[in-house]
């Protein structure tokens, strides 16, 4: 589905990577590896179209993503370093609104169920500002549960999470892959996805 060919990207006078080629088909997962500053975030943001690459092309189902534009966005979701939640809104409101922005109407019951599964029980209605770092990340990750995107692009999803939550994310990814989804992600922590072959791409 996702095909990347001959991709090159540079920041400032610094060439981060070049000649990058890979493809991801349904059910596949790929980890982007590399030391700090090797260009993992830049690669993922290029896949989202935030950064335009120096060279090369990214295509989805055979068509260039820049042509697809919104049709591509409808089938992917990105989760970056930033949580994309509003401090003033409660976890519940945040989740329902971000589902709305991605074009879905989400009932309150569904939203609460998703938050419960992510371990935000009893704090669904507090302004997220008062939540802890890890809880805020969990609220952000709850979007994975209420989304029908096929491609997940996750930039350090495990940051700030405790061991229980890390296991849960592994489980979510497994379900997503089993349903024919695709995942490309980065992390500096070990992530175990039971029974799936993990491909990896190293940047240096």
């Amino acid at each position: 589905m996702l095909e990347v060919s001959n991709l090159a990207c540079s920041r400032g006078d610094h060439r981060l990577f070049s000649g990058l080629c890979f493809a991801l088909s349904p059910g596949q997962i790929m980890q982007v590896q590399g030391a700090n500053g090797s260009g993992k975030t830049s690669l993922l943001r290029t896949l989202c179209g935030f950064i335009s690459p120096d060279e090369g092309c990214i295509s989805w189902g055979g068509t260039d993503v820049r042509e697809l534009a919104e049709d591509y966005f409808a089938q992917m979701m990105y989760l970056g370093h930033l949580n994309a939640i509003k401090d003033e809104l409660s976890a519940l409101e945040n989740l329902r609104i971000s589902a709305g922005l991605s074009g879905m109407e989400l009932s309150e019951a569904d939203a609460i169920a998703a938050l419960r599964r992510m371990g935000i029980k009893g704090r669904e209605r507090l302004p997220t500002k008062v939540l802890s770092q890890g809880q805020r990340r969990r609220v952000s990750l709850a979007r994975l549960l209420v989304n029908d995107a096929r491609l997940w692009v996750l930039d350090e999803p495990l940051a700030a999470l405790d061991v229980g939550a890390v296991a849960l994310i592994g489980e979510l990814i497994r379900e997503h892959l089993a349903g024919g989804g695709m995942v490309i992600f980065t992390t500096h922590q070990p992530l175990v996805v039971a029974g799936m072959e993990m491909r990896s791409l190293s940047l240096s």
């Binding site: 919104e70 990105y78 994309a84 879905m104």
Partner: protein, 227 residues
Amino acid sequence: MKKLSLFSLLLLVIRRDLVLAMRRRADVLTTLFFFVMVVSLFPLGVGPEMDMLRKMAPGVLWVAALLASMLSLGRLFSADYLDGTLEQMLLAPQSLSVLVLGKMASHWMVSGLPLVLMTPVLGLQFDMSVEAIGVLMLSLLLGTPILSMVGAIGAALTLGLRGGGVLLSLLVLPLCIPVLIFGTGAVQAVTSGLNVSSHLSLMGALLVLALAFTPWVTAQALRISME
């Protein structure tokens, strides 16, 4: 889960921003107070001669409205930018312009509409005639949405630049000056017994133009700023 129509998406965005504004209950009131305060400061600096004040009144009110809406523009996208929501909006599978239009509309409701409603009280303070106040309100009603919309372009362009607030005013004020001129022109026309409809219909035309183009332009500006 069911798909949202474009119109309900628009409503969602407006509702979201209004809820956010209400959460900080102070927000709505403070733009208004800023407006009142600026208007009230002038006579202090200028002196209490009623005749002069009456003449200045439309200009002062309009400039104050311009500043109040400028000041609140800073928040329009920057909060969304800093916490990453804006990234998600750019990745939304619907037209970004609709989202932007929603944000403009709620900005106006929070920072433009209250000013219009407050105008009569301030106008009386400056001893304006009822007729002049009516025209002033009408001109503000047509003009403040334009300020919000044109301001949004500036807000999008200055996104993520520190000191953006002031840079923003620098970009936006020149674009808003025609609105200011027509707006005060209308009031001056009515006080000197001339026809106001030409001024007001010009403002109406500007409003329609702004509605047609600014959401799209702002959306492009956002994409550029996020690069």
